[in-house]
């Protein structure tokens, strides 16, 4: 089984979706079927994690087969230290998102879970594909279910939000496709072999001229920057988050945003190393702007979800800053921060969703003092609030620390500005926390029910992980040491060889 584990991981959700489509008609049984399917998918990642060889940077569990040989298209998947944590995050958050939707989604239940399962196949596929054509298919396949999740099960302005999300992402996809086609021809020209093989194309990076690299870099960069999202391409995110149902927000923040930064790591840095190096300061500036800008705008939001959405812009700024420091500490911090942000922001959206189901409002001003009526919720919400602020003992602290160390080595001035994010994060998160949970109890919420068993169950794994990363990050960073080391060397040897 282990030799086909990646294909199983990719297609199991799709098969499950098909089964649900054929044999289920909505209601409780459908939910449970979907939940069981996603749990099996998650359990399948555990042998992957345990039998992963941490001592090599090479692709593992590789499966390779010709698909359309005439065009050099293959079915080619593999996993390395950069993608493995993303797989773990994806399957975990999807299972949790399903459990978090049981009472939230009331209409067209079966279709909702179908969309989630198809989405999961797309997401896992994106992180595992090693062929550009395959990658692009998964990338686009992912877009549609997400569009539907926002557009069908979203809030009042869901159509506007969904279309905005779709247009933004589509613009990015088109640019990416052009870059891929150009790479296909360029690689053919350099080697005589026309292929979409990502590894083969990456291996020839030294032979691409700097001018060509710059164009490719910019096309990829724009495509992925929209996804991250980086300033100033971020405005789809607050709308999408606010309108999306809880599960949509969790997946969006937890996994989809990471595809942008994953793209930087997998394509921009190794395929266009010379261009990447010359664009380092540019990306760093954008990252720093995102950190400060996102934090400032988050501070003045009146809708809890919007606040967390803008905080994501700020936190993802740390990720891009770390990645473009192009050193071990920075990139490892960036990847760890991708993981942490997925866990913490995912949890925050779940908690906001849980309270929204009870109160039907997300306006901060309509809350007040509810810590008195929902003490358990208050405690758990505080833990993730503090996690988001980057309190030591929890994951984000380690991630931010590594990013700042890496960035400080590469460009200390930007790192200093970025570090001011630790102040702003405390301001907007604690101000929100105070207005929602502290002060006098708004008597509308006296009878508010505290978290129920199902909610406790889905939040517990996230609680465990957030502390685990904070106390013993090596469990997670040990996966990436070799791959990151290799990546940094790759960029610099190629980048230097060009000059």
């Amino acid at each position: 089984m282990m030799e086909n584990i990646l294909s199983i991981l990719i297609f199991f959700p799709l098969v499950a979706a098909f089964v649900i489509f054929l044999f289920f008609r909505g209601g409780k049984t459908t939910m449970w079927a979907a939940f069981i399917a996603t749990i099996i998918e998650f359990i399948l990642t555990i042998p992957l994690m345990t039998s992963f060889d941490k001592t090599t940077a090479a692709m593992q569990f590789v499966e390779k087969a010709d698909w359309i040989p005439a065009l050099g298209i293959q079915y080619y998947v593999g996993v390395d230290g950069i993608s493995i944590l993303m797989i773990f995050l994806t399957t975990l958050l999807t299972a949790i998102a399903v459990l978090g939707s049981f009472t939230y989604i009331q209409k067209r239940q079966r279709e909702f879970y179908l969309a989630l399962l198809v989405l999961e196949t797309g997401m896992v596929g994106v992180f595992l594909a090693l062929d550009f054509f395959l990658f692009y298919i998964f990338w686009e396949a992912m877009l549609i279910p997400m569009y539907l999740i926002i557009g069908v099960w979203g809030g009042k302005r869901r159509i506007y939000a969904a279309v905005k999300f779709f247009l933004y992402t589509l613009a990015g996809s088109v640019l990416m496709m052009l870059a891929i086609i150009a790479l296909f021809f360029k690689h053919g020209e350099v080697t005589g072999i026309y292929t979409f093989d990502i590894m083969a194309i990456t291996a020839q990076a030294v032979k691409y001229t700097t001018g060509f690299q710059t164009i490719i870099f910019l096309a990829f960069f724009l495509g992925f920057a929209i996804k991250v999202p980086m300033f100033p391409l971020h405005t789809w995110l607050p709308d999408a988050h606010v309108e999306a149902p809880t599960a949509g927000s969790v997946i969006l923040a937890g996994v989809l945003l990471k595809m942008g930064t994953y793209g930087f790591l997998r394509f921009c840095l190794p395929i266009t190393p010379a261009a990447s190096i010359s664009f380092m300061p540019f990306v760093a500036i954008l990252s720093v702007i995102a950190i400060v800008y996102g934090a400032l705008v988050a501070m003045v939001q009146s809708d809890i979800k919007k606040l967390v959405a803008y905080s994501s812009v700020s936190h993802m700024g740390f990720v891009t800053l770390g990645i473009y420091a192009v050193n071990q500490a920075g990139i490892e911090g960036g990847i760890l921060q991708m993981f942490n942000h997925g866990i913490i922001t995912g949890a925050l959206f779940l908690l906001i969703g849980a309270i929204y189901e009870r109160t039907h409002t997300r306006e901060i001003s309509e809350y007040g003092g509810i810590a008195a009526s929902v003490p358990l919720f208050a405690t758990i919400f505080l833990i993730f609030t503090m996690g988001s602020i980057g309190l030591p003992g929890m994951g984000a602290f380690i991630g931010e620390f590594l990013v700042l160390v890496g960035a400080f080595e590469a460009f200390s001035d930007y790192a200093i500005i970025a570090a001011s994010g630790v102040i702003f994060a405390a301001v907007y998160m604690l101000w929100m926390y105070q207005r929602v949970l502290y002060e006098g109890l708004n008597n509308r919420w006296e009878k508010l029910k505290d978290m129920n068993l199902r909610e406790i169950i889905y939040i517990t794994p996230l609680l465990i992980i957030v502390f685990w990363v904070g106390v013993y990050p090596e469990t997670f960073t040990s996966y990436m040491h070799e791959s990151v080391k290799n990546l940094v060397e790759q960029v610099f040897t190629a980048g230097v060889a060009m000059k």
Binding site: K164, A182, I215, V297, P392, L402, I423, E439, E474, H481
Partner: protein
């Protein structure tokens, strides 16, 4: 496994047990768990203290914590004389406060929650003093901030408490921002964060002359590094300009004020500077900044303390002022004196706060000293112990405060900082005055509110017990540890870790030292005498003085208007700018552009209808053009 690990485990386990099971199962028995935890720490700390006296020390890695590339930061503990002293301070006061809280928090519905928070605080503070590297220090640093947040906001349903806890956290974070920069400079300079890497004499000498460029400006590396670290101390130890959170922190329950906001957490900055003496002693610009920040804070706190009517606020400003002394001491290079004052201050200020809690208990949570008076007979134990605390802080020998404060003054003088010495001496007189002012107003004279007075009563034994214990320490700790001047036990004990290599400590002539000592006693006595004159002998004097110096009084009484200033200069502009960025930029510029783009496809859609002709030739033609365009792009570049 090292025995000292138990010091950390005690409160941690207590925290976990109470945190997980407190609400549903343990409830009002939470103190058993918490006191068992802190008690274990206390006992092991005392054992550790004696072992360290015998030459024992630990610098050990428990496990590799953060590793990335060339950096490897351990989760490690360090036990040396400085740590041993801090352990004694933290666990002693913490244990007393735990016991006291059994009585004080008796009827509170959040009883278990309170003890849970006390445990996490104690654990965090112990991490702070026991870590063997800067990152551990920072972890403790941030976690005490969290505990402080939780405990100030313990009665979260009060708006004032909710505001105060957020303010404390944010003000601390501003300092931590600087600390973070300092930490990053340490890691890139010394290629590690372990104290043993960063405090090496040779390594420091090697980088002493280096400069570092920030935003195009050149700075001395070591000054920049220490200045960054010191920003953290300004936040945590409530130094100007980040001092405004500490008085507001009095919204928390009084035992918390005693433990966190007087004895332990707020002294973390002093500990940090003393710990980094190897770096600070080489950073001359920073040292200057430290001296003057400390001096000014001491003065600032005292001036405000003179005018307040809320008993806990008086004590809070007194803490701000005393912290200024300690910081100033570290600035002049008198690290031992600074830590010594930290040590004695922990006991007498902890005592004073616990006494104020006892008074509060008697006065049904009213803290206005104008409503008190004549409580001497009603609460004799509180009366006597408060008096001890006042004498100790005023600096009357042989009580504890005298020894440490006198030493700070003497060392400041000896190191040639005449102006700071002068200001600090004046502040010593002010301290004696306002502390005795509070004492006279609360305990002496006649009751000013008969109804409240009639209901006043002495506190239960769980509360008075710790008072007596701390009072004994306030009497003895100074003379036992600090006599004779510059040559006492504490000097021999701490000297080896707190004397930077290559430093040339200044010593005073015996006669000069004696002169200074007499002077400081006279100043303190004068302060007490004037206080007696004002509040016992001629009670009309205070009113007249206030009238005569109306503007000055208003200025001091309103805390120099710092809060208003910050609101106007910092908070308001930032919020305004943020609103503009959101509404002005995000919505009007970016989204406007995006929506405009959205309109373009609609227009193109209209045109495109004509292109979809269904004719094969058109499609092929378009494809060929597309491919040609692509080829042109990548062949030309």
């Amino acid at each position: 496994m090292h025995l000292e690990v138990l010091i950390l485990l005690g409160p941690l386990v207590a925290f976990l047990i109470n945190g997980l099971f407190g609400r549903l199962y343990i409830k009002n028995n939470a103190h058993f768990v918490a006191i068992a935890g802190v008690g274990l720490s206390w006992i092991v700390s005392i054992i550790t203290f004696f072992r360290v006296m015998g030459g024992h020390s630990v610098d050990a890695t428990l496990y590799n914590w953060v590793a990335a590339g060339k950096f490897n930061i351990p989760f490690g503990i360090l036990v040396d004389p400085l740590t041993a002293i801090m352990l004694i301070v933290v666990t002693t006061v913490s244990t007393m406060v735990h016991i006291y809280s059994m009585g004080y928090m008796h009827d509170d519905e959040g009883y278990w929650r309170f003890f849970t928070y006390l445990s996490i605080f104690t654990f965090s503070m112990l991490i702070l003093v026991m870590g063997n590297n800067f990152l551990m220090l920072f972890v403790g640093w941030e976690l005490v901030g969290l505990s402080s947040y939780l405990l100030i906001g313990f009665w979260f349903y009060k708006k004032s408490a909710a505001d105060a806890c957020k303010k404390a956290f944010v003000m601390n974070r501003i300092g931590d921002f600087g600390f973070y920069i300092g930490l990053l400079l340490v890691i890139v300079t010394f290629q590690g964060l372990n104290y043993s890497d960063a405090f090496q004499y040779e390594a420091i000498q090697a980088i002493k002359a280096n400069t570092y460029t920030v935003f195009g400006m050149q700075f001395s590396l070591i000054d920049l590094m220490t200045l960054g670290l010191f920003c953290g101390a300004m936040g945590k130890s409530a130094q100007f300009p980040l001092h405004t959170w500490l008085p507001d922190a009095m919204e928390g329950p009084t035992p918390v004020s005693a433990l966190i906001h007087a004895a332990t957490m707020v002294t973390a900055g002093v500990y940090m500077v003393a710990r980094c003496n190897a770096l600070f002693s080489e950073a001359h610009i920073t040292s200057m900044v430290v001296v003057y920040v400390g001096m000014f804070t001491a003065f600032l706190g005292a001036t405000i303390g003179l005018t307040q009517y809320d008993l806990k606020r008086i004590l809070a400003y007194s803490t701000v002022s005393q912290l200024g002394y300690m910081i100033m001491a570290t600035g002049v290079g008198a690290y031992v004196a600074g830590i010594f004052h930290l040590f004695t201050h922990a006991f007498f200020k902890g005592l004073l706060f616990l006494c104020s809690g006892s008074v509060m208990h008697a006065m049904h949570n009213d803290l206005d000293v104008r409503k008190m008076g004549g409580l001497k007979k009603k609460m004799p134990i509180t009366y006597w112990t408060y008096l001890v605390g006042c004498i100790a802080i005023a600096g009357i020998p042989p009580l504890a405060g005298f020894w440490s404060k006198d030493e700070i003054l003497a060392m400041t003088f000896a190191n040639g900082h005449m102006f700071p010495w002068f200001v600090a001496t004046v502040v010593a007189g002010m301290t004696a005055f306002y502390m005795f002012r509070s004492f006279f107003l609360v305990f002496e004279g006649t009751p000013r509110n008969q109804h409240m007075h009639d209901h006043a009563h002495e506190s239960p034994a769980t509360m008075t017990g710790p008072l007596v214990f701390l009072a004994i320490l306030s009497v003895l700790a100074g003379a036992v540890f600090g006599y004779p001047l510059e040559n006492g036990f504490i000097h021999h004990f701490l000297g080896p870790v707190l004397t930077p290599e290559g430093a040339h400590p200044h010593h005073l002539e015996h006669s000069t030292a004696l002169m200074l000592m007499i002077l400081s006693i006279v100043v303190a006595a004068a302060g007490i005498f004037i206080s007696w004159l004002y509040y016992i002998k001629v009670p009309s004097l205070p009113g007249k003085t206030v009238k005569a110096f109306k503007p000055v009084h208003t200025f001091f009484y309103n805390k120099w208007f710092f809060d208003e200033l910050y609101d106007a200069l910092i908070v308001f502009p930032i919020v305004t700018i943020s609103r503009f960025l959101w509404r002005g930029f995000d919505v009007n510029v970016i989204d406007f552009t995006v929506n405009a783009f959205g309109k373009v496809p609609m227009f193109i859609g209209g045109v495109a209808r004509h292109l979809q002709t269904g004719r094969m030739q058109t499609y092929i033609f378009t494809m060929v053009v597309g491919v040609i365009v692509l080829f042109t792009i990548f062949y030309t570049v």
